[in-house]
Amino acid sequence: MDGSNGAEAVIRVRDLAARFDGRTIFEKVSFDVRRGEVFVILGGSGCGKSTLLKHMIGLYEPAEGSIEILGQRIEGLEGAARQALLQRIGVMWQSGALFGSSTLAENIEVPLEEHTDLPAEARALVARVKLGLVGLSDAALRLPAEISGGMAKRAGIARAMALDPPILFLDEPSAGLDPITSAGLDALIRQLARELGTTFVVVTHELQSILAIGDRCIMLDKEAKGMIAEGDPRRLREESDNPVVRAFFRREVMA
């Protein structure tokens, strides 16, 4: 525990390496995510941000290193223990990944139906609450094909929150959205973090978002094949002496 805010670490990543067919995406990645913070994983295209996220939620097996979520190692975890851990995290996928043949309300009821004994009426009410939290109450009966990209992302967050997980992973929440919608989504994330005390791990390369929502961040780099910075994004912008970090935060073209 090295937190300046004193909160405990809910995710610990140690010496993580990702390799596909012998090609190293990144290695020696180590960091902690603390309870209640909005933690941003940033970096340019192709640096392995989404790959890191997929390692953290246990979709990929790490080539080296370990990942601990809420005190439990996720790699190699199987059976009931894995199910129990998966119920305590929620993931919003890059495109929303809503089930196309179900309404938004039904989408949110899927995890409730699968993992709780709540009666149908209770599930419907919980789904309404979640949609209300992300401002989609009036779209409950629409199909994913009938809503806009921004709404799909918000519905994706609502579904990820269905079981009140203490940790939410968001993959590129603002990608492909206009600045106003994107800013609205950032405000929503901040609000949820503040009010629910949920820990957020957000993968993004949108500078505005990073500065607006991030308590702390790490930056990955394709060339360095690993982490090149860690800390408060606002301070990194002002103080970092790494040329890649500076170029990223100041939107400069690298020499």
Binding site: T116, D117, V126, V129, S137, A139, L196
Partner: protein
Amino acid sequence: MSTGGKAAATLEAMPEGGGRRLAFRGALDTAAAARLWPEALRAARGANPLVLDLAGLTTLDTAGAVLLLRLEREAGAARWQGLPAGPLQAMLDRTREALSRPEPHPPAPLPFLGRIGHATVLRGQGMLGQVAFLGEALVAGLGTLRRPWRLRLSEVLRHLDEAGLRAFGLTVMLGFLIGLILAFQSSIPMRQFGAEIFIPNLVGISLLRELGPLMAAVILAGRTGSAYAAELGTMTVNEEIDALRIMGIDPIAWLVLPRLLAAMLVMPVLALLMDLSGLLGMTAVMMTLGFPPIAVVNQLQTWVGLGDLVGGLAKAAAFGLAIGLVGCRAGLGAGRGPRAVGDAATAAVVGGIVSIVLLDGIFAVLFFRLGW
């Protein structure tokens, strides 16, 4: 909202002032809410006044808050007591606020007659669309006839390969088996009359005139018609068709014509293959019955005419065109969302098979009138 090992919630209901007091203690999380839901609702029903005593609560999650608010609604009103200020109160307030937002109402279902009318209109529109599509394809085809170099030959070849060459194995196998089965089944009654020598007539004529083209068309509808619909349907969903239109490229000429041409060209070949392998299967049965192959060939030469074969192959080409048209139309007319592609593929196979059977009926009448 982890329960962090705190004790699961308990519920105690006791009468109070003519109404009822429900005292919750412990962690009211999703599991506890699910467990207590029916009991709590029963206890709250008709309670006047209803007192919700929450002083003993340690945790409250969304499902728990939903349960409490549902109890309030069940009783009509509730007196809230002892809910600790802070996160628990905030959770309840947030849930109440989210539930108070207006929810959409599903559209009222149409009456029975209305549903029939709606379905009729939809079906009529679909048929009109089908006719319009036929017209568009015809116009595009005529345009290509005038400027044949506009046709994308590489696409035609690719589709010929996919619809034809790759279906050869399946066609040969099915044809051989069908010839075998037909010959064997007809040999049983024929033997009673000592008429086994006429099996080649029976199997030959039915294969060449009907079964060969029909079975080949069913294979094409299942393999290729559905593939056309799925491919074009995915392109429609991905807005690739719109992109083509905006580039000033006619999607019919660009995408549909090569497929139609390939389907039309490949079908006579597949039908011929089906015919030949069917005759081979029949010959195998005849040999087990003691007839030499030359007897079978003689019988076929005498009784089965070239007209039977050519008529069948011409039919096959028409079937190919129909299957291609139905498949492409299903793909280009696909709606949005992931279900659209599946629906288009289904429509292509079902529509393709229905259309070839209908066409076959028309050909039967036509050939009869022409005396073929």
